[in-house]
Amino acid sequence: MLKTQARLESSKLMSWLSPLIAIVLTMLVSSIMFLALGINPTTAFKVFIIGPLSDSYNLGELMVKTTPLLLCATGLALCYKANIWNIGAEGQLLVGALVGSYFALQANDDSGYGWLAITLLAGAVAGMFWAAIPTLLHQLFHTNLILTTIMLNYIGLYLLLWGVHGPLIDPEGFGFPESAIFADALLLPTIMEDGRASISIVLAVVFAIGSGIILYRTLPGFQLRVFGSDQPAARYAGYSSKFIIWSVMLSAGALAGFAGVAEVTGPIGQLIPQVSPGYGYAAIIVAYLGRLNPFGIIFAAFFMGTLYMGSDLAQIELGMPTAITGLFQGILLFFLLACDFLIHYKIIWQPNKSNSQTAPVSTKQGAA
């Protein structure tokens, strides 16, 4: 009989194997899904996994998808490591895009890269501000961060829609809900000949590595981890909970806000209603897939970016519905959470002893 048994110590190996097992299981289950849709799973995976890596244009697009995921997930990982449930990366990203666009539209053809720097900074600060609202409410009134951050995602989205339909609309755009295209100086430099990938992917990787160093090599990072895994111990050691909560929330807000402004000044080049196809939510899965470790998150973000790219390609080449991305993400998260059980428990084979034991006892009892 298979039995589960608590491990004496949590398994480090399993905490890294678990996402891999989850990916394999996700592929198995989605194969069934592909078969049901009448598509050969091998073809499907070729489009999904190999496709995004096949040529330099696709590779560039992969980086475009990866950048916001990586930025948001890094910030979220800091929050989740501190046991702070920030679900608001999406809203922070959108507000960052909105405010960044406002600044970008103030520029003219004579503006230099200084103005771009101000624009990027404005986006990051806007994201911070958007994260500061739920943090303040939490500090003052003990509101639930999960709820307030989710609610602010919607407020952020409608704020952006208002901006793009109203004050920021292109006066010469025939009423289309789009801003004017940003001046050239306000566009992030690209890193490849063809394609839209900009230096923001480099910055995102640098931020992730920096966060990893702070988290695992510095005292504030250590305090953050203690606070996240055991609050009474943090209080006992005298770590300031206020400082920790504010730092992680503001960092996450700044990173998400930067992700937003880097989208509009990068691959998009103007403000449009569809800045994000749910990057802020997918980043939650990325953060967990990367074990809340910024170094792991770099790989997880590229993997999730591949899925986004893959589903775009699947739409074009296989005529599959867009919902496929959401399905993939859902199945993946589901298996990931299930596999994490193995970090704290092991599965052992034990001959079914209790039955063989009770049988003779009951006969004895009957005889007595």
Partner: protein
């Protein structure tokens, strides 16, 4: 042995948990009307053994005979219906219900006809055994002693044949202990068997007919306590090589280091006590012991002094004359304070982190961090030296804190705090749940720190321990502190009365004139 007189016998019972054999072929017998002590250090397997008798867990091997018949006790419900009652160390009562409602809840349907019959039975039983509890009172208003009486009553009402008590005296004042023993003797004389789990040898000698000693999950000996000395029994519990209790010389401290002035804090929860005008003064080079039964404000006092709770008035706590009540625990550490908390795993140490990381938890100032960067080699080095010097049994410095036994973790935490050479050490329940060998090494550590000039405040529920190590002693009752006296000028009986609150009726005495 007369078979028909046997109530319970265990034959070669074993129980294994991952990584540990809790019970290894344990055999014991219990006669009708006998009071049997189950002795052993923490982790010796006492709790597992009684859990098997009470049906909470099932044995892996071996068998259990109840009145001569082999049985498998599948659940506490089944145990109760057989006539086995148990009083746990942590009471399982509903605070918001009355005494009668609590008893009613534990009974099977149809056990009593109506509430009036039950009420009459409760009153009858509590009169017969002098277990004074009013059936209409709400449990949250009851003292710890009264709650225990309620638990015993709850067992008695079901015509119990075997009563198991897990460390019943650890929460009682010496006077309450005497009362409990009287009840237990009456019960035994009427034929009820009693299994008494304890590690307090004096009590076992005073009460029990026979004692079975467990060590490392095995039966290590059996004796008639009346024929033994506490020392000879202790040898059987810990083995011959361990150093047992020692006598430490008493000293008189010098300058005042930590002072509280009318320290008051409101309770943190509806059933808490808070603190009311606590005045204490802690001097350089002394150990001040705070006695008291659990739930009389110890937590509030510890949190207020350590800085985990900063609600007290700014001027009500002073370290070296400086007002510190608004400083958090980290800021107070900078002033030379160290703290050994009540809860080892989860407060004093982060369960999922390694011992090295747990060293860094409070010792970052000891050159382990350079401009915010952690120096991993230094951290591991310090962790290793703490592990080595305090004889902490663990895998290595990278073992998770949760993988250590309670006693070893406590040695580690005390070692870590003492290592910082604190001027003031606040120490909560230093040897609670720690085996005798480890306890005396912890005591020696504290005495050594005192002799080096530190001021130490020890909060403990173990009055014998306080008499052994403290130079002065005071009692905490319902959030109020008695005045402190020199340990040599008082005795356990007097402090025992203070613990029960008698000092509140006396005229407010002067705060220890000796030091003025």
């Amino acid at each position: 042995m007369k078979q028909d007189n046997l109530l319970l016998s265990l034959w070669q019972v074993s129980k294994r948990y991952p990584g540990v054999v809790a019970n290894d072929k344990v055999s014991l017998t219990l006669a009708k009307g006998e009071i049997l002590a189950l002795l052993g250090e923490n982790g010796a397997g006492k709790s597992t053994l009684v859990k098997m008798i009470y049906g909470v867990v099932q044995a892996d091997e071996g068998s259990l005979l109840w009145q001569g018949k082999e049985v498998v006790i599948r659940s506490p419900n089944m145990a109760r219906s057989m006539g086995i009652g148990m009083v746990f160390q942590h009471f399982s009562v509903f605070e918001t219900l009355s005494v009668q409602e609590n008893i009613e809840l534990s009974l099977d349907a149809g056990f009593v006809k109506d509430a009036a019959t039950l009420r009459a039975k409760i009153i009858e039983l509590s009169a017969a055994y002098e277990l004074k509890v009013d059936p209409d009172r709400y449990v949250h208003n009851l003292s710890i002693g009264e709650r225990q009486r309620l638990e015993i009553l709850r067992c008695l009402i079901q015509n119990v044949k075997l009563l198991i008590l897990d460390e019943p005296t650890s929460v009682l004042t010496p006077q309450e202990v005497a009362g409990l023993f009287k009840v237990l003797r009456t019960l035994a004389s009427e034929g009820c068997s009693i299994l008494f789990i304890s590690h307090k040898l004096k009590e076992v000698t005073a009460l029990c007919d026979r004692a079975v000693i467990l060590r490392g999950g095995k039966v290590n000996g059996e004796c008639v306590p009346a024929n033994e000395t506490p020392d000879s029994i202790a040898r059987m519990m810990v083995g011959s090589e361990a150093v047992l209790s020692e006598r430490y010389h008493k000293t008189i401290g010098s300058d005042e280091l930590l002072v509280t002035r009318d320290l008051s804090v409101p309770p943190t929860n509806p059933f808490g006590t808070g603190l009311t005008k606590v005045n204490l003064s802690l001097h350089k080079g002394e150990i001040l012991g705070i006695a008291g039964v659990a739930g009389n404000g110890q937590e509030d006092l510890l949190e207020a002094l350590s800085g985990e709770d900063t609600r007290a008035e700014a001027g009500s706590i002073l370290i070296n004359g400086r007002k510190v009540a608004k400083l958090n625990a980290g800021e107070r550490r900078l002033l030379g304070m160290s703290y050994v908390p009540a809860d080892r795993l989860g407060q004093g140490a982060v369960p999922d982190m390694s011992l090295a990381d747990n060293t860094l938890l409070t010792s970052a100032r000891k050159g382990l961090v350079n401009r915010g960067l952690i120096l991993p080699h230094k951290v591991v080095e310090l962790a290793k030296s703490i592990i080595h010097r305090n004889d902490v049994k663990c895998h290595n410095a990278h073992a998770q804190a949760k993988s250590l036994s309670g006693g070893n973790l406590q040695k580690f935490i005390i070692g870590r705090e003492v290592d910082q050479n604190p001027e003031v050490l606040i120490c909560a329940h230093p040897t609670w749940g720690v085996d005798i060998g480890a306890a005396s090494s912890i005591h020696r550590q504290l005495i050594e720190l005192r002799d080096n000039g530190a001021a130490i405040l020890v909060v403990s529920e173990d009055i014998d321990e306080l008499f052994m190590i403290s130079d002065r002693i005071a009692a905490l009752y319902e959030g109020q502190l008695s005045h402190a006296v020199h340990t040599e000028q008082t005795n356990i009986e007097e402090v025992g009365k203070w613990i029960a609150g008698s000092f509140m009726n006396e005229d407010k005495p002067q705060e220890d004139v000796k030091h003025a």
